[in-house]
């Protein structure tokens, strides 16, 4: 290994994965840098060493088993579809229950508000009845919002 500043670019250069300009620049550098020249030689030896481990081939029996496994796939696909539909149905059911619960809670809440309070909380309306205006005035006074 080398401590040359260009060392981190040598791996990409060795793989032919640098731009044309960088390649030319690195080649010029390597010609004058024995450390980098040694590094390139090591990268070549490492590649040869790794490739020498050889590639195992799949046996004909293994290949046959592979083909047989495909024949089981339609059943797997159906099971998968059933799983997906079951999950979707469960999700819809849960969402419906939550929605119904939220809807009933909203209705209950709105039903519990007395008429005078709803009128008091509503925006000031010049056309409101005397009772409604009185209710608004009381609420504003109690909450310190009454006009000075």
């Amino acid at each position: 290994m080398t401590d040359c500043g260009q060392a981190d670019r040598l791996s990409a250069y060795y793989d032919g994965e640098v731009s044309e300009a960088e390649r030319a620049s690195l080649e010029e550098h390597i010609r004058g840098c024995p450390l980098c020249a040694v590094e390139i030689a090591r990268l070549q030896r490492l590649s040869r060493l790794i490739r020498s481990t050889g590639q195992m081939e799949m046996s004909s029996q293994a290949l046959e088993r592979l083909h047989q496994s495909l024949d089981l796939q339609p059943k797997i696909a159906i099971l998968h579809m059933v799983e997906v539909f079951a999950a979707a149905a469960a999700a819809i059911l849960v969402a419906s229950v939550i929605w119904l619960y939220a809807l009933s809670a909203t209705r209950e809440a709105s039903a519990q508000i007395p008429e005078w309070e709803a009128a008091a909380l509503a925006a000031r309306n010049p056309s409101a009845s005397v009772q409604e205006q009185l209710a608004q005035w009381i609420v504003e006074d109690l909450s310190g919002k009454s006009e000075q």
């Binding site: 290994m1 981190d8 791996s11 990409a12 793989d15 994965e17 090591r42 990268l43 030896r45 490492l46 590649s47 060493l49 790794i50 490739r51 020498s52 481990t53 050889g54 590639q55 195992m56 081939e57 799949m58 293994a62 290949l63 088993r65 592979l66 083909h67 496994s69 495909l70 024949d71 796939q73 797997i76 696909a77 998968h80």
Partner: protein, 187 residues
């Protein structure tokens, strides 16, 4: 000279489309085309033929189930390789959970890598495999995809779904590690 049957061989994408239409024989043909390459990659990643066979089976099963998701943006080979890398990682995780007293090459630590024996090709093969296995999974993937499968940085980036720059830096670090561990062979 190309024969009539050579000229009319369907492309991988055509085979995928035929399978989608219910022609299972088209998928069998895809298996025949890619099984050996995928098996070699799986052996390199898993370290043994039995696990590799499982991984290749899971890869094709996953591809078959996910045919609808294949949009043709990548080649079929890239798509299958991507599935295999994921299946291999999944297999590795579940094997790690099952791991008890069984000692295999996968568990060989740096200090277990044997000394130089360049006279013996078999020894070299064992040492190189053990050295690769001591790398982290991300570094193993780039070394194997580059050195054994001969893929470009662009192809690796697509398969691993990482930026090209990350491929480059991982490969650089992985080679550094291997050089340290195999220095007896590299001089």
């Amino acid at each position: 000279m190309a024969t009539e049957s050579d000229r009319w061989q369907p492309t991988d994408v055509e085979l995928v489309n035929k399978t989608r239409k219910g022609d299972h024989s088209a998928f069998h043909e895809l298996m025949d085309r890619h099984a050996q390459t995928l098996f070699a990659l799986a052996v390199s990643l898993s370290g043994n033929a039995a696990d590799a066979e499982d991984i290749v089976q899971e890869t094709f099963a996953g591809a078959f189930r996910g045919l609808g998701a294949f949009q043709g943006r990548a080649t079929v080979k890239t798509w299958l390789t991507r599935i295999l890398i994921r299946q291999s990682a999944r297999h590795h995780r579940s094997a790690s959970k099952r791991k008890t007293t069984f000692v295999s090459l996968k568990e060989t630590s740096h200090s277990d890598v044997r000394g130089p024996s360049p006279q013996s090709a078999a020894d070299a093969r064992i040492d190189v495999t053990a050295a690769i296995k001591t790398l982290g999974p991300e570094h193993q993937e780039v070394v194997i995809l580059r050195e054994i499968q001969g893929l470009s940085y662009e192809e690796m980036a697509e398969i691993l779904e990482i930026p090209r720059g990350t491929v480059e830096s991982r490969l650089f670090r992985a080679r550094r590690e291997l050089q340290k561990r195999l220095k007896e062979y590299l001089g």
